[in-house]
């Protein structure tokens, strides 16, 4: 079985390191981390991921902006994107633990790894 390629775009070095470790630990994923949001696009084009985990609020470039750029890029527009956010209200949490905001799938930080895996699986299945 081919490993799925996951690109994580998030400025927090330690957090992205931990997520990468857990994802690769399963044996199902190859993970690339990009901590510099202004390098997100070129990295994505070069790496050609199957899925992108995108932090919503970052110092240089807003996650919303990046997501828009991804969508308008012909090579990347069909890659599923999961937005990760620290700011979710109680009202927005659905039963399944995933938040749907403006058409995007969002997950709240902190998220249990098991839940993250489920979300990734779901997104990858929908993309096929």
């Amino acid at each position: 079985m081919n490993k799925k390629r996951v690109l994580i775009i998030d400025d927090d070095i330690a957090l992205t390191q931990m997520v990468k470790i857990n994802l690769e630990d399963t044996g199902h994923y190859d993970v690339l981390v990009q901590n510099r949001s202004n390098r997100a696009l070129p990295t994505a084009r070069e790496y050609n991921p199957d899925l992108i985990l995108l932090d919503y609020i970052m110092p240089d470039m807003d996650g919303g902006d990046i997501s828009a750029q991804l969508r308008s890029d012909p090579l990347l527009q069909n890659v599923p994107v999961i937005m990760v956010t620290a700011l979710v209200t109680n009202g927005e949490m659905n039963g399944d633990g995933f938040v749907h905001r403006g058409g995007h799938i969002m997950v709240a930080k902190p998220i249990k790894f098991e839940k993250l895996e489920q979300c990734i699986d779901k997104c990858l299945m929908n993309a096929l």
Partner: protein, 453 residues
């Protein structure tokens, strides 16, 4: 002093009697003990009658003058007092003050003799409208003096009124300014909360990933406590996350969003936010929730704000380990007193079914004389620097916007305060799978008299 014509000449247009606010004659009190001097004055005034319509009275002593002035104070005050300085019972500057006190809105003209010019001047300094040396009085002079004096006193009175109004307006402005500052503070609080949330969530995320990693490998650890440790760590992360999320929720300054709410859930959330305070003061918490309970339509974060405010007030009233009771229950409005100023649509009426959140503390309660004022903005019994006094006024506003009612009452046995939030019940409670009918219909709805909040 220029020598005036002995013939009475009409005074300037601006000083005619018609200009005066009150109709009728000019009421003059002449305080003069010397009969000859008085006769002269009387004659002068009679001659001046072409220009003014005088109603003249006389007093011969200071005491007599004061009595006369005070008698007429309310209904028919004098317009002017001609005050001789050499009265049998006069006593220097104090004479003036006594007359002024007896007639605050009356023009006072000092009649001075040869030797008391200085005293006369002093009295003018202190507020007398004019002084006239007796030996140079002519009808014209007297007329002019009286009319000018009365006018000046009028201006003075108007000035005082305007000052009062200015003071009030300044007060209002200051209050509004404080309110704006307060709102701005709340605004930045929201932003700070968001920043804090963000900063804390990442470390929590890191910890979570760590716990997950070790949990997957727990068989490899020899210690007997591995499972427990991992469980505790996991729960700790969840708790921290919950508090942060609730704080962000709470500090959001969004528009009012009314949604179906369960008050039990809401109260639980509010209690979690003040949990630390309860523990610190050793307060025993008794919860009496009615389950299931009807929903209400509310903006949950705003309502939570109100609840937290009420809970904190009660907590702060009980510094040493007393009991705090929080109840939720149904009630039926038995009677509603008219609440002036509330629109009909908004009011809770008799026979309405309502949901009540009740907070009952065992503190000292609120002194009856200030009970009316608790909803005033900025009114607070806390020492300066603690709290802004805005809490209950904002709370009241929020409940009003929910078309509910906020009641604050002292309780006697045992002593304490009871605060009730009363909201109209909307949807029936969540349907249960059991066949037993919902308790709502069996519970004796407590009759509730609705006093205006």
């Amino acid at each position: 002093m220029s020598i005036m014509n002995t013939q009475a000449s009409p005074p300037t247009a601006s000083l005619t009697r018609d200009d005066r606010p009150s109709d009728g004659p000019l009421r003059i009190l002449c305080v003069e003990d010397n009969h000859g001097d008085y006769r002269l004055l009387e004659e002068h005034i009679r001659e001046a009658a072409l220009a003014i319509n005088p109603h003249l009275e006389r007093a011969t002593t200071l005491a007599g003058a004061i009595t006369r002035l005070e008698d007429g104070k309310e209904e028919s005050p004098f317009d002017a007092v001609l005050l001789d300085l050499a009265l049998p019972d006069s006593s220097g500057l104090d004479t003036y003050h006594q007359v002024r006190k007896a007639a605050p809105r009356t023009a006072i003209i000092i009649l001075s003799g040869n030797n008391d010019r200085e005293l006369a001047l002093e009295m003018v300094e202190h507020g007398a409208q004019d002084y006239l040396p007796k030996n140079v009085i002519t009808p014209d002079l007297l007329t002019r003096s009286i009319l000018y004096a009365v006018k000046r006193q009028d201006y003075r009175t108007q000035l005082e009124l305007l000052n009062e109004r200015l003071r009030n307006t300044t007060q209002e402005l200051q209050t509004t300014q404080m309110q704006i500052i307060q709102m701005e503070k709340l605004d930045s609080l929201g932003r700070i909360a968001a920043g804090v949330a963000h900063e804390v969530k990442n470390p929590l995320g890191i910890l979570q990933m760590g716990v997950d990693y070790f949990a997957r490998r727990r068989e490899q650890f020899e210690g007997e406590h591995t499972h427990l440790i991992l469980t505790n760590m996991q729960e700790a992360i969840a708790r921290a996350d919950t508090i942060i999320r609730e704080m962000v929720d709470f500090s959001r300054s969004d528009q009012f969003e009314m949604k179906p709410c369960c008050v039990n859930t809401l109260v639980d959330r509010a209690l979690r936010m003040v949990h630390h305070e309860l523990v610190m003061r050793n307060i025993t918490l008794i919860k009496e929730f009615t389950r299931p309970i009807s929903m209400v339509s509310a903006d949950s974060s705003k309502l939570e704000q109100v609840l937290i405010n009420i809970l904190m007030n009660s907590i702060q009233a009980m510094p040493n380990g007393e009991t705090l009771k929080v109840r939720t229950h149904y009630a039926l409005i038995e009677a509603a007193q008219r609440d002036e100023g509330r629109r009909e649509m908004d009011r809770l009426r008799q026979d309405d079914e309502v949901v009540v959140i009740e907070v009952r503390d065992h503190g000292p309660g609120i002194a009856p004389e200030i009970l009316d004022r608790v909803f005033e903005p900025f009114f607070t019994t806390k020492p300066t620097g603690e709290g802004t006094g805005l809490g209950l006024s904002v709370a009241k506003r929020i409940i009003e916007l929910h078309r509910g009612n906020l009641q604050v009452q002292n309780v006697i046995n045992p002593q304490g305060l009871r605060v009730r939030i009363i909201l109209k019940a909307t949807d029936p409670p969540e349907p249960t799978t059991s066949t037993v009918p919902s308790p709502r219909h069996h519970l004796a709805l407590e009759p509730l008299t609705l006093a205006s909040s």
